[in-house]
């Protein structure tokens, strides 16, 4: 019986081989094997499940095509809160011997040592989207000015509610640098309006829409009619918030500013349940990230911080071409 189990084991495992070969074949078609002049750039997003990151990928691929002889390796953790997995991905990329790493750190503190290890192994790192704690010498930082984005959201919300009333700030996850900047920007700008009262700013919507919806359900339950406006700091958050507002029958009544677009939010803007979306330019972010990396690899001086711009789409301007491009950025499937 022992012998048979062994042979059966081998057979079964061999059966897996085609599957692996197949999936490997699917994804490695771009690779020109053994050609050392091709530079391999790893682009590591916070997570792979949101549209936003697919647009970043699009921008990165676009830059790679423009420059030529650059291969983008796209890999990240599945969920954005999984710092451990992201550290693993960075280490795996070091192992693969990539020429550079373009990274959107999940947590500003958690990735410091991984980045330091990479720099220590002679692989430069460009940070994008979200900041990293001080320490390792990075080759550039490409991001939206999130603080400014938060301020824009505050101004838009203030305008929507007539500069007076109670508002809620729904946070994202603790430790995520980019959203914390937005939150801080929002709070600072909203404080300029003496008539506006922030009645809740300590709730975290969590990493997915379902959690966010539950949180907002509770907040609406708690504050109900006294509430004039909500600001949700990122896309999963905003989707959940929109659902919750609709469910409570408060669509249009509670003014709602989102950050980052989604189909539901665009639709919401058309029918009046969303009053503004702060937009960033993910394609530009991926594009600039790779460009900066190549510049660093070529030994050119790079700017320490590059902003990729932030925009406010409103029901009035949403059909303009610039905003259409940003509302529905191109993605890599």
């Amino acid at each position: 019986m022992k012998r048979m189990s062994l042979s059966a084991f081998c057979r079964l495992t061999l059966g897996l081989l085609p599957l692996l070969a197949f999936s490997a074949g699917c994804t490695s078609e771009k690779r020109t094997s053994g050609n050392t002049s091709v530079r391999k750039i790893a682009v590591i997003p916070k997570g792979t499940s949101h549209e936003f990151w697919k647009s970043v990928n699009f921008g990165a691929q676009k830059a790679a095509q423009e420059i030529g002889d650059v291969e983008i390796i796209w890999k990240g953790p599945v969920v954005e809160s999984d710092t451990g997995s992201q550290i693993e991905v960075v280490k795996d990329m070091i192992t693969r011997g990539v020429d550079g790493i373009v990274l959107a750190p999940n947590q500003k503190g958690g990735l410091v040592d991984a980045v330091e290890e990479s720099v220590g192994e002679g692989i430069p790192v460009v940070i994008f989207d979200s900041g990293l704690d001080e320490g390792p010498k990075i080759s550039g930082y490409v991001a939206t000015d999130n603080f400014k984005g938060g301020q824009m959201a505050a101004d838009a919300l203030a305008k929507a509610i007539g500069e007076s009333g109670n508002v809620v700030l729904l946070r994202y996850l603790a430790g995520s640098e980019s959203t914390e900047q937005r939150e801080n920007g929002f709070l600072e700008a909203i404080a300029m309006y003496p008539e506006i009262n922030v009645i809740s700013s300590d709730q975290y919507g969590g990493e997915n829409s379902t959690q966010a919806k539950e949180k907002v359900d509770q907040l609406l339950q708690l504050h109900g009619d006294a509430l004039e406006g909500i600001f949700a700091v990122c896309e999963p958050n905003a989707n959940g918030t929109l659902e919750a507002i609709k469910n409570a029958g408060l669509a249009g009544k509670v003014k709602f500013i989102a950050f980052d677009p989604s189909d539901a939010l665009i639709e919401g803007m058309r029918n009046g349940s969303v009053h503004g979306i702060v937009l960033q330019d993910p394609v530009e972010m991926g594009y600039q990230g790779v460009k900066t990396m190549i510049a660093a690899l070529n030994g050119n001086a790079t700017e320490e911080f590059q902003s990729t711009g932030e925009y406010l789409a409103t029901p009035e301007n949403m059909d303009e071409e610039t905003y259409q491009r940003l509302l529905k950025p191109q993605i890599v499937d």
Partner: protein, 359 residues
């Protein structure tokens, strides 16, 4: 009855075969490593089969294997611990808090004293979590699945309370270097414990703990009693083994490994986020099951568990090397887990219908 005796005779006749039979999961690991080495050589980055990658895999496997050792004991004793993941991050959060608020910078007076205190806090939290599980299971006689399902969210909640629903960042300069570089896998010799041995410190810790648990299981009365209550608690009671006390002890003991795992986790991500732990328990349990642990108790081995963790992480790493997207990686790991358990079943004559046909 009698039909099984011939195979038993064979086993006796061939001690080598018997020994090889025990290495079950290790074959799976060899096959996985071999497979990925070949595939990576053909289609991938040619960096899978390298010393550096071995270090990276060893380190990430250690992060799973250490808490999985506690889980192995629990599963052998016929239990399950769904709270292992959140208990681990609760410990990690406690460590992060200790290193944020109650320690002094490295090099200052009493620094070592405070570091030891912080570690003791982490250990204490781990053991306390295990004790709570064990006590509820033994005293209330509720099945472990339900109890730990409850404590899973309790520990998550407690973690969120002490972290004020946020992530706790320790003061980086309070962390001694050995702790900072526990999970270091680079090529700087100074950052390893032994500069002539480039093995991540986390893996060294896992090896030492693994040997310890294996000896505990094999050579101590406590270890044998654990197996006894796992395979049949009624028999154990009949034989005068205090089932309740042993259960509590097993869970508390497993808490030590949760705490050790938490130290590695903390050293890896350098912060404490209580909600990170959700889902970790499944990876831990998967490692135990891949290593031949039986969820009906009485069977499992630390060696197998360590190999199980290595298999999971090797697949993950191999898939990254081959640029296989996350989605496929998940499918492959799932398929491997089921196949591994299926093969394990072949050894004990399962599935029955297949063997009946073969007869």
């Amino acid at each position: 009855m009698t039909e099984n005796q011939p195979s038993a005779d064979q086993r006796k006749a061939n001690p080598l075969l018997k020994f090889l039979g025990r290495l079950g999961p290790a074959y799976a690991l060899l096959v996985v490593v071999g497979l990925f080495s070949v595939l990576d050589h053909q289609f991938g980055s040619q960096s899978f089969f390298s010393a550096r990658n071995a270090r990276v895999i060893a380190n990430s496997a250690a992060l799973v294997a250490v808490p999985a050792m506690g889980m192995t004991m629990i599963i052998i004793a016929g239990g399950i611990d769904l709270s292992a993941g959140t208990a681990l991050t609760l410990c990690g959060t406690a460590l992060a808090l200790a290193f944020r608020d109650y320690t002094v910078p490295v090099g200052a007076e009493d620094a070592t004293y405070w570091v030891v205190c912080a570690l003791a806090v982490g250990l204490g939290v781990g053991i306390a979590c295990g004790l709570i599980n064990g006590l509820i299971i033994a005293l209330a006689e509720i099945v472990p699945f339900i109890v730990t399902l409850g404590t899973m969210t309790i520990f998550l909640g407690i973690g969120q309370v002490i972290a004020s629903e946020s992530t706790v960042y320790p003061e980086t300069e309070h962390l001694p270097d050995w702790m900072r570089y526990l999970c270091y896998t680079g090529s700087n010799s100074d950052r390893y414990w032994f500069d002539w041995l480039h093995v991540p410190s986390s893996a060294l810790i896992a090896i030492v703990l693994g040997i310890g648990v294996a000896m505990l299981m094999h050579f101590t009365v406590f270890g044998r009693n654990m197996v006894a209550i796992g395979s049949n608690p009624a028999t154990a009671r009949l034989c005068g083994i205090r089932v309740g006390m042993t259960t509590v002890a097993v869970y508390a003991f497993a808490g030590i490994f949760v705490a050790a795992g938490a130290l590695l986790y903390f050293a890896n991500v350098k912060n404490g986020n209580p909600s990170d732990g959700t889902g970790k328990e499944l990876e831990i349990i998967a490692a135990v099951v891949l290593g031949g642990g039986s969820l009906s108790g009485g069977r499992g081995s630390v060696f197998g568990t360590v190999v199980g963790a290595l298999i999971i992480k090797t697949i993950g790493s191999g898939c990254t090397m081959l640029s296989i997207p996350n989605t496929y990686t998940h499918i492959i790991i799932g398929v491997i887990i089921i196949i591994a358990v299926l093969i394990d079943g072949l050894r004990s004559g399962k599935p029955k219908w297949l063997f009946d046909r073969l007869r």
